[in-house]
Amino acid sequence: MSDGSLKVIGEPRRRVDGRAKVTGQTRFADDIVLPRMLHCKLLRSALPHARIVSVDTTKAEALDGVHLVLTGDAFPIAYGVLPVSHDEHALCRDKVRFVGDPVAAVIAVDEATASEATRLVHVEYEPLRTFAEPEDSLAHPEPRIHEYGDEGNIHKLVSLQFGDIDAALAAADHVFDDTFFFEGSTHLPIEQHAAVGLKDPDGKLVVYSSTQTPHYVHRALAKSLAMPAAHIRVIATPNGGGFGGKSDPFNHEIVVAKAALLLDRPVKICLTREEVFYCHRGRHPVLMRFRTGVRKDGTLAGVDLQTLLDGGAYGSYGVASTFYTGALQTVTYDIPRYRFRGCRVFTNKPPCGPKRGHGTPQARFGQEVQLDKIAERLDVDPADFRLRIVAPPDSLTANYLRIGTIALADCIHSVVRQSDWKNRFRKLPRGRGVGLACSSYLSGAGLPINWNDLPHSGVQLKLDRSGGVTAFSGATEIGQGSDDVLVACVAEVLGIDPFDVRAVTGDTDLTPVDLGSYSSRVTLMMGNAAVEAATRARDLIAGAVSRRLDVPPERLTFAERRVFDASNPSTGVSFQEAVCIAEAQFGTLGTTGSYTPPKPAAQFKGGGVGPSPAYSYTAAVVEVDVDPETGWIRVPRVWIAHDIGRALNPTLVRGQVEGSVYMGLGEALMEEQAFRRLPPRLSNALVHKFPSILEYKSPTTLDMPEIFTDLIEHPDAAGPFGAKEVGQGPLLPIMPAVANAVYDAVGVRIDEVPITPQKIVKALQAKAAGRDARYGPAAFPQIRWPEPLLVAPPWEGGDGRASNEPSRKKRKAEAGIEGTAGVRA
């Protein structure tokens, strides 16, 4: 959006790190080579669930070139990203919980020697029952995969009710009851995780890592190595793709740190592609049941949602993921009464965690496909139906999420118009179809993972007589363009060129804390901190220049590398001179900015997941060609409109939208983190079905449709220059829009992803045989849900508290000091 007063913001620009990336000079973690550097390899469990009886490292230690062999004995202290699930050790101590769990580490002169030595480590195991599916974990509380969690092998049970949902459904004119399944998928960043640990010359620990969250790695290192955090420096190297997969503190990071401390030599690890598949932390497989009450007038009476998440072997972000499956439905549509019950179980598979959209795409899929079914039954156009139920702006939802701007209706109108929806929906020949879906996402989580009152993001600026400005921020460049956002915000406020600003980011020694590049938080939170720091610098400089030029400071304009009198532009100084004047007057120049999100309205336990300073919205129409004989499915075109608030750099925003469509199509059509049992004569172990890029199918250039992107810009007061997120939201409508388009094309419902030709053929066969024209899960299992927390919605006299919850004070005392606001246990 062009705005006359803005020079940098809103202009399509080469990103500040663009040159480094196209010359191959961006230094990724595995590109780091240091003198005397050693190499690390991990021995990973080949059994999915077993007690470790003994580990014999004698032979490995004796191998020429081996410097150190570590086992779980070296890592007595547990860590994890959420305070409520510190359930990992850098190397397993008592038991292994999935194929791929690391048991020993070898540090040697080169990778080949380290690999050879891992094969000389002898581990004796006592196998335990393998839990392959959530149903196993629900049915069998013993043996427990972990000694914590809500019960047996159930990690987390959530039960929240906002108004009398049973009465609402009983009074509704129609109740729709549908079950859906969303298969797990993985991030597949092209860069494999890598880390280098070293002791710096003064004896402190330094860890370089391809991490999205250096702050959490910092915390995990301090805890698990029992070292003062002030003696640890974590440097996040630019990530070669993250998508959520590099957001956890990882065992390999802690292992190379420990080894470097013990050996006083740099130690590097770079995971193989197979190991990356086993590291995972990706999309949870989710089974879900939506019961939705609809009134005659086409408005919603209420939604009753149950979700069952297959968490894999560790906690990771899973408690938050569980809440997220139920958090954002109400932010999109006006739902007067709502019940959400979620259950995460442990299984003996690689841990699931956050992948782009974190916990929300699964339930979004179910909700948007169900809305399509409802519209069909009510005989209304699905676009018109959604326009009728779009959530209102500046409102509080039934579950106490505060909506600011919402341009979802504009998004729907945009894709309807662009795609010629009215002339195509239900009007294309058999085999061709269009489907529509919508979504919403957070611009950063409103509460921190580690409960405290500290800022979520800080930015520091250094200015000096060179006229150069250096911006320091803990945010991490994962390809999304966070360095560019930082530099653009500073350059805009100071009236200089982005290229005049140097970004120093993701270094816990040099940069103020930013919580990390996840939950689409960086543009809004770091951007606001950057604007604050730059505004303070501008005010300082304006004060000094005002005296020098005898012009009131409020009349000074910062633009085109000058500071000048707005009413008489020839009176002014260059930006460099202006900085010199200020430096002479005030001494060394530096400013800071911070961002802390507003306090959420929710006062009930679990209300910490879902609040955000601003929500983005997206609508998409997907066109499909489906061969009714083979089920082969092709996507020729996608129209997508995204409510961005303001596009800071439209080139990068478009890239995020298109990249989201791409990743959404991968999940919709082909990507599966699937598992199988090895034959009993081997080990019967539960292994990844295809831990290789060749067989884990992802879209190529040949699979990509044309994408028509429309950016809807209604600046939101919460964001820097009005910006909201774009990195995750546009992925969410793609999967349900594909499913809805398949129905339009061939008249069958595929109620799960991925939507494969086989499933379409099976549904067509069912239809031909007179059975339900559908492929999807048959039923949702019986789960013994706890009594829900009862929270009256705002319009029923509620104040955000649960009527049946122990008082906050008492709970806080029980939880101890280190709670988690977002995910209080």
Binding site: R15, V22, P189, I190, M704
Partner: protein, 172 residues
């Protein structure tokens, strides 16, 4: 050509022409061209994503042909002409493909970018004005998880048209 039998642990003299420069290095017989480029010649611009020939990140040009350097033993390359991403800059100026990629959002995380750039260069060297379909085909072996490919394809088209957008105040 068939490499000679190499004793384990014995390094072999390997002459190469890399980015126009003659280099000679002693390499372990088991090493791939990728490993020799990254580890022995410090040309870390070439990346790896799988080391199994699946992702395209390690593509370099060998005698002008896009080649997966993770699948080629270095010893198969004596005397051959290798171009990596570091070789695209000439006379201190970015190649038009590099300018177009930087300007048009074709590099997000930048990790697949070196492999895609050299593959696109090979295409443009052969077909200066390829159709969109030809560009898609040529790049179909290079995976990118960030962009959705469209800005990459547009950047190749822009470079072919030799009209990268003008940019402001940026090093070229």
């Amino acid at each position: 050509m068939t490499p000679e039998v190499v004793e384990p642990g014995v390094k072999v003299r390997l002459p190469l022409v890399v980015n126009g420069e003659r280099v000679e290095t002693l390499v372990d017989g088991y090493k791939t061209l990728l490993e020799v480029l990254r580890e022995d010649l410090q040309l870390t611009g070439t990346k790896h994503g799988c080391e199994l020939g699946e992702c395209g990140a390690c593509a370099v040009l060998v005698d002008g042909e896009p080649t997966l350097s993770c699948l080629l033993l270095a010893l198969e390359c004596p005397g051959r002409d290798v171009v990596t991403v570091e070789g695209l800059v000439s006379d201190g100026r970015l190649h038009p493909l590099q300018d177009a990629f930087a300007d048009l959002g074709a590099a997000q995380c930048g990790y697949c970018t070196p492999g895609i750039l050299v593959t696109a260069k090979a295409l443009l060297d052969r077909e200066p004005h390829p159709t969109r379909e030809r560009i898609r085909e040529a790049l179909s072996g290079n995976l990118c998880r960030c962009t959705g490919y469209l800005q990459i394809i547009e950047a190749v088209e822009a470079a072919a048209a030799a009209t990268p957008r003008a940019t402001r105040g940026q090093a070229r």
